[in-house]
Symmetry: C2
Subunit: 218 residues, 2 copies
């Protein structure tokens, strides 16, 4: 059975090399020109393939958009550290800061921004299929990674909390704030302009998080 004969199944993340190069071209179009630039003719031209192949592989235009999200999510699959329980507090702090930097880097990346804009622009009163896909494939990954990280911090005696999810929400809010929305709206966020500002913001966020959920009192 050829791989091409199972097209529009969202759970199927196995794309052929040709299909991946097509999705790559489509992502570049999206990043550079927004949703308006994602036309079937445009993708076919940019990827040197025929429109007929696009429809055979992805079903319809929505299938292409969904495949773009699935493909990009499978590409960014972060190195999910296993939650090793014991480390020094300093090592854990560095781990936490690395997570924060990674989070901001991903959220501010042009491809992530473009896909989030795409899914949000499509959403309406009823739940958006692209939005669901983005949450399932993209957001849950970083959330899971953060949850095991927090748990390892608790086991190592660095952190103290009752509700892991609540602690994660707080951490996320302290790190990201409204930066994500502002970026998606096209604003130039000064916190991310240079390395120094970004590092200062991250230290501030982590410090506040420690004040709230650190084991030692202040």
């Amino acid at each position: 059975m050829n791989i091409n004969t199972r097209p529009h199944n969202p759970a199927d993340s196995a794309y052929s090399d040709r299909q991946m190069s097509v999705l790559e071209a489509a992502l570049e179009l999206l990043v550079n020109g927004g949703e308006k630039a994602i036309t079937t003719a445009g993708i076919a031209r940019a990827a040197n393939c025929s429109k007929e192949s696009l429809y055979k592989w992805f079903g319809d235009r929505d299938g292409i958009l969904a495949a773009m999200i699935t493909y990009q999510a499978s590409k960014v699959r972060v190195s999910a550290r296993l939650g090793g329980p014991a480390q020094s507090p300093q090592a854990f702090c560095a781990e936490l800061e690395k997570f924060g930097i990674d989070l901001l880097t991903v959220l501010a990346g042009p491809t992530s921004l473009a896909l989030n804009r795409l899914a949000i622009g499509q959403a309406s009163l009823d739940g958006s299929a692209l939005g669901k896909l983005l949450i399932e494939r993209g957001r849950k990954a970083v959330r899971e990674r953060a949850l095991v990280l927090l748990q390892s911090g608790q086991l190592a005696g660095v952190l103290r909390f009752d509700d892991r999810a609540e602690a994660f929400d707080t951490l996320y809010g302290l790190i990201v704030g409204d930066m994500h929305v502002r970026l998606m709206l096209g604003e130039k966020v000064p916190t991310l302009a240079n390395e120094a500002a970004q590092s200062a913001h991250m230290r501030q966020a982590i410090n506040n998080f420690y004040l709230l959920y650190g084991r030692e009192q202040i």
Copy 2:
């Protein structure tokens, strides 16, 4: 030559009653059907006006979208309390909680969500005009309100911080977190499902904020 036929309007509303009713109809279309539903013919049909009038009043389709944002922002103009310096800590806490509830209520409102989706969907690599407008007309208002609120808290001796903007960012992150993005993606956020969950979340956020920026140590 100004076409505005309302000489003695309040300086704020630059739109005539007829134009406002048209914008109201356009907003309803947007809320119910997303950006795709904002067609010139659709607006004209829903508002019982002619397409020619639309183009005379707003220039082109983008002008209609911009007018929708401007009009909605002028409508939601919150009662900006003047920063009265002295209150009891309890009164200030209630004020802060009221601000948080208002903030979440506005952000989760269908019209605000639809307009944010619209502006984000239009944004691209270069800054979006709608995004700038939304930030300028919508976001800055609540930010200013929060800043004077925080300052009054500092003057009343309840809060303690060096950088007002930094404190506001923290407060915003604690209250909103990633709820706004999840709502825009179409997710049903359980924190906003019922009054109890919302109130609990708000108390948690305010409490954390006090732990970070309250005057008395814990």
